[in-house]
């Protein structure tokens, strides 16, 4: 199966402190079309791994290839363009722009990419409808529930048809019901072929929604295997 993401001997240290590396010689592959869960205790390097894959941070050593692109060869501007077109990021605390409506938040990546306004608008409306938040399109984030905000964030992440979706604790700030709704959406996206990398500390979530689980401890991969009971098979 095609490897959408490849990390080869990737390490990340801060302030030259090799004794406490955030990532330590990580070499993994992410299979296209699968849901991969990244798990580990607090400070194990989960979010750092996500940041490195998404081009939000650069490794101190090693190389990262996403959808055939070696991220180490890209400058800051190229990395930004890469993120807006190849990667969609969903954050634990949504990270919406509070002074923009839901629709305007969703449109931002398409507008930054210079997509024709009518095309971007049509795509945004489709996504809002698919995520069942069309009635929220003209509301501001402050007036939405957590679940609604996270769905807006998902729509924003998908507007440019990214090859890869990165979700950092997407249900961490949600109640159980809202969290389940968001996970259902992610599963649905995966059934449509979307590759997803999911950071979570929730064993149940990993076992029911992921095809593969990667475990990190102190920045190093300690386990990398198929999930016990994947909810769906990759297509």
């Amino acid at each position: 199966m095609k490897q959408l993401v490849e990390l080869n001997d990737v390490s990340k240290v801060y302030n030259g402190n090799r004794s406490s590396a955030a990532l330590d010689s990580v070499s993994i592959g992410i299979t296209a079309g699968q849901v991969t869960a990244v798990m580990g205790p607090s400070g194990s390097g989960k979010s750092t791994l996500l940041n490195v894959i998404g081009g939000l941070d650069r490794p101190s050593r090693g190389n990262v290839v996403v959808d055939g692109v070696d991220l180490g060869r890209l400058g800051e501007a190229a990395l930004a363009r890469f993120r807006r077109t190849r990667v969609g990021i969903i954050f634990q605390f949504f990270n919406l722009l509070n002074n923009l409506t839901a629709l305007d938040n969703v449109l931002i990546p398409a507008q930054l990419a210079g997509v024709k306004a009518s095309d971007a608008r049509r795509r945004a409306d489709d996504l809002l409808e698919r995520l069942d938040i069309t009635d929220q399109r003209n509301k501001y984030p402050a007036r939405m529930s957590g679940g609604q905000r996270q769905r807006v964030a998902i729509a924003r992440a998908l507007i440019n048809n990214p090859a890869l979706l990165l979700a950092d604790e997407p249900t961490g700030a949600l109640d159980t019901r809202s969290g389940d709704q968001v996970l259902a959406i992610l599963s649905d996206l995966n059934r449509s072929g979307q590759t997803i990398v999911l950071v979570t500390h929730d064993e149940r979530l990993a076992s029911t929604h992921a095809h593969r689980v990667i475990r990190l401890v102190d920045g190093a991969v300690v386990d990398n295997r198929d999930a016990m009971r994947p909810m769906v098979q990759a297509q």
Binding site: G43, D57, E76, N95, N99, L100, D104, I108, A142, R156
Partner: protein, 792 residues
């Protein structure tokens, strides 16, 4: 108290950018306030300060050496009206030959050194003469002739003075000779063409008024031979001229001082309140660990006041030092000795005012913060700023422009109070530049209108004298050296023919100057009559028109004000007992003497008068000096003035350099204001910027967005600042005209803002905003997404 000091110092070290901006803005503000106030105080009475330092002479008298001896004159120093004296100094007319064939005569005085009990001279360059072949020039003579140290002066063939080398340039206060040499270099000649005079300087017991000075002069000269006193001048006339001309600077120096304080107040208030908002979380933590509200205020006050005091401490001496070149130029412009000027009282007041602004805004902002509960302060400081700029963001989102531009534009006024203060700072910067450029252009026009150098290049004088005639002005100064023996003078017709015969002559008008009496004028009124078409002479018209027929006249504003007349009135001017009825057809811009004068057509004068002087316009490309030399060498009895020389340029250069200097400082303050605003905004928006970068905004787009957020602010600042600057320009110009010579201003001097300049000024407002935002924009573009979002 220890905890408060520790926290303040730690915060100063942690928030280096904020500390630096406060220090820089307060430094600039105190520098500009000190500069403007020092110039203001010193410009108010430059002559008085110089006179005090130089022990200036209240009265200068010149005596004929043929009628009085040195010992007789020294005895005059014991007169009861005299408190101190210097001299007698020998004085001879010194005719110098220039390479172009022209000759000019100055007074050369013999003096052992620059010091003394009265009228101490200040050497501005070089040294005093050490032998009889060396000469020290006055600043005026050096400027007029363009001579420098080391140059040689060749005497005219019949001059009793040998060739001399310039070794120094000196200034005194009052009516100085053109040059000084050692006493041994100045001969004592009591007969013939170049007769020696004696110059004496007196400090008087009572010298506050012209009457007191005149009384002292009479007392000093009592008992001397009838023709002993050749000339007498006093300090009051020199004081009037110098003080009046520098007083025109007072209005715009006041304006600049006010601007500097206002701009500083805007920016410091913005800076302080922003810093307090940014530190809200810190305030909550401080309170939660036990800081009292008063201690919280103390910490914030320390953060602001320490760099503010350093800024003031640096700005005050730098402002004093920065004012010295301008004060030197002021002294130079009026031939006064250069002195070190400082106005400690006003300077301290200005700096104190700035510190008070810092204290007031800090206390106000920190009191609000100090009253906040600890938990709410932590929550408020930790959570992203919300509730700002929704409407503008929504409108901007609909505009079909690149998204980075509309995102930035939508943020322009999301914090109305902060944006308003930033607009205020830019407004002041733009208004200052508008006003400075406008005033500079207007003063250039004023200079052209006063000197009329572009219209009249030469003025020729017939050196006639005789009872009943108004004596022609002589090109040879009749100062302390006394007038030389009268040469043969060509007739009016001969002079007219000589001028017409010059190939370079384009236009000429003949003139005669008479004194007339006009009711309510309070003094004899000089009236100049012009023969021929004089409409080209270039006197700017304020109201009405130039005269076009006999019995019509024009006058400056001061004459109209003094006599209570207006354009259109008919006045009666009495000349030698004969009444002349003149219709006032125009008010002109004309600054000569006290501006009580008239100008009229030749036909107004009774009888068959002769012209005394001639104003000449040369053809383009004609060498004025060559024509002057040809006229002077063709005959005796004619003097020629070449226009375009003199001290007027220096005064205007001085004003322009003061305008430029202060405008630059205020523009820097405006830049600092924008910089501070953008730093605060990008700090508050750090999360949003990180989100945008995470979802694909490139560094260039981040910079575009940040710059766009201030562009509208710059437009707003320019939109208000330009009309404000134009209004200020008009008002200041009117005020300067009134102070300088009680004159109104011709409309053309106001209309100096052409479309190109206005466009440039508008762009200037935007440029100020963009320049101030450039660095913070780049910092925002380079910020690390993961650090801000804290995804780990």
């Amino acid at each position: 108290m220890t905890a408060v000091i520790h926290k303040s110092l730690a915060d100063l070290a942690r928030w280096k950018m904020q500390t630096t901006v406060i220090l820089f803005v307060v430094f600039l503000s105190s520098l500009s306030a000190t500069l403007a106030l020092t110039l203001l105080v010193e410009s108010d009475a430059p002559f008085d300060h110089a006179f005090q330092q130089a022990h200036g002479a209240h009265l200068t008298m010149t005596f004929a050496a043929s009628a009085v001896t040195e010992s007789e004159l020294r005895a005059r120093g014991a007169n009861s009206a005299v408190s101190a004296f210097a001299g007698p100094f020998k004085l001879v007319p010194w005719t110098i030959q220039q390479p172009d064939g022209r000759a000019f005569t100055e007074a050369l005085a013999g003096r052992a050194g620059p010091g003394g009990a009265v009228d101490r001279l200040t050497l501005s360059a070089g040294r005093w003469a050490q032998n009889n072949t060396e000469v020290v020039l006055s600043q005026q003579m050096a400027d007029d002739i363009g001579l420098q140290i080391g140059e040689s002066l060749t005497p005219a063939i019949d001059s009793p003075i040998r060739a001399m080398t310039v070794v120094g340039i000196a200034s005194g206060v009052g009516n100085e000779p053109g040059a000084w040499a050692l006493p041994g270099a100045v001969p004592l000649i009591t007969t013939g063409k170049f007769q020696t005079s004696y110059l004496m300087d007196f400090r008087l017991v009572h010298a506050a008024t012209q009457q007191e000075v005149a009384s002292a002069a009479n007392s000093i000269s009592a008992g001397l031979a009838q023709n002993a006193v050749v000339d007498s001048t006093n300090y009051l006339d020199a004081k009037l001229g110098a003080d009046r001309t520098t007083a025109v600077m007072i209005p715009f120096l006041l304006a600049f001082s006010a601007f500097a304080l206002l701009a500083s107040a805007f920016i410091i208030a913005n800076l302080v309140s922003g810093a307090v908002i940014a530190g809200t979380r810190d305030i909550g933590i401080m309170k939660s660990v036990g800081f009292t509200p008063a201690q919280v205020v103390g910490v914030l006050a320390g953060q602001m006041l320490i760099p503010a005091m350093v800024g003031c401490f640096l700005g005050l001496p730098v402002g004093i030092l920065a004012s010295q070149p301008f004060l030197s130029d002021t002294a130079h412009a009026f031939g006064l000795p250069r002195t070190f000027g400082v106005a400690p009282g006003p300077d301290a007041v200005g700096v104190l005012a700035i510190l008070l602004v810092v204290i007031a805004t800090t206390v106000f902002a920190s009191l609000r913060a100090g009253r906040m509960g600890a938990a709410s302060a932590i929550a408020t400081g930790s959570s992203p700023a919300t509730g700002h700029g929704y409407r503008m963001a929504r409108i901007a989102a609909r505009i079909n422009l690149p998204r980075a531009l509309t995102l930035g534009g939508g943020e322009s006024f999301s914090r109305p109070a902060r944006s308003a203060m930033t607009v205020g700072a830019i407004l002041i910067g733009v208004a200052t530049v508008t006003f400075s450029l406008g005033l500079s252009r207007s003063l250039s026009d004023v200079k052209a209108g006063l000197t009329r150098d572009g219209v009249v290049q030469l003025q020729v004088f017939r050196e006639s004298s005789g009872p009943g005639n108004k004596g022609a002005q002589s090109a040879v100064p009749s100062g302390p050296a006394g007038p030389p023996a009268a040469p043969a003078v060509p007739t009016d017709q001969q002079t007219t023919a000589l001028i017409a015969a010059q190939p370079g002559t384009a236009r000429v008008v003949a003139e005669r100057l008479v004194d007339v009496s006009v009711a309510a004028a309070g003094e004899p009124v000089p009236m100049t009559a012009y023969r021929g078409d004089s409409s080209w002479l270039g006197y700017p018209i304020i109201n009405g028109r130039w005269f076009s027929a006999a019995d019509e006249a024009v006058a400056p504003t001061a004459f109209l004000t003094r006599t209570g007349h207006h354009v259109g009135d008919t006045i009666t001017a009495t000349l030698d007992g004969q009444d002349l009825h003149l219709r006032l057809v125009g008010e002109i811009f004309d600054i000569q003497g006290d501006n009580i004068l008239l100008r009229t057509a030749w036909g107004t004068l009774p009888g068959n008068p002769e012209a005394q002087s001639y104003e000449i316009q040369l053809k383009p490309g004609t060498d004025a000096d060559r024509v002057a030399g040809t006229i002077e060498s063709s005959t005796t009895g004619l003097g020629v003035d070449v226009h375009g020389r003199g001290g007027v340029d220096t005064a205007f250069i001085l004003i322009n350099s003061v305008l430029a200097g202060l405008a630059l400082i205020l523009t820097l303050i405006a830049l600092a204001g924008v910089f501070n605003t953008v730093v605060l905004n990008t700090r508050e928006k750090a999360r949003d910027i990180a989100i945008l970068k995470a979802i694909g905004m490139t560094p260039r787009q981040v910079i575009t967005m940040v710059m766009a957020s201030v562009a509208l602010v710059g437009v707003a600042g320019a939109a208000i600042g330009i009309p404000a600057g134009i209004a200020l320009h008009r008002n200041i110009l009117v005020l300067m005209g009134q102070i300088a010579s009680g004159t109104n201003i011709p409309n053309q001097y106001f209309n100096v803002f052409d479309i190109e300049l206005l466009i440039g000024l508008a762009a200037g407002g935007i440029v100020i905003a963009l320049l101030g935002a450039m660095l913070p924009a780049q910092w925002a573009a380079g910020s690390r997404v993961t650090e801000v979002l804290q995804t780990e």
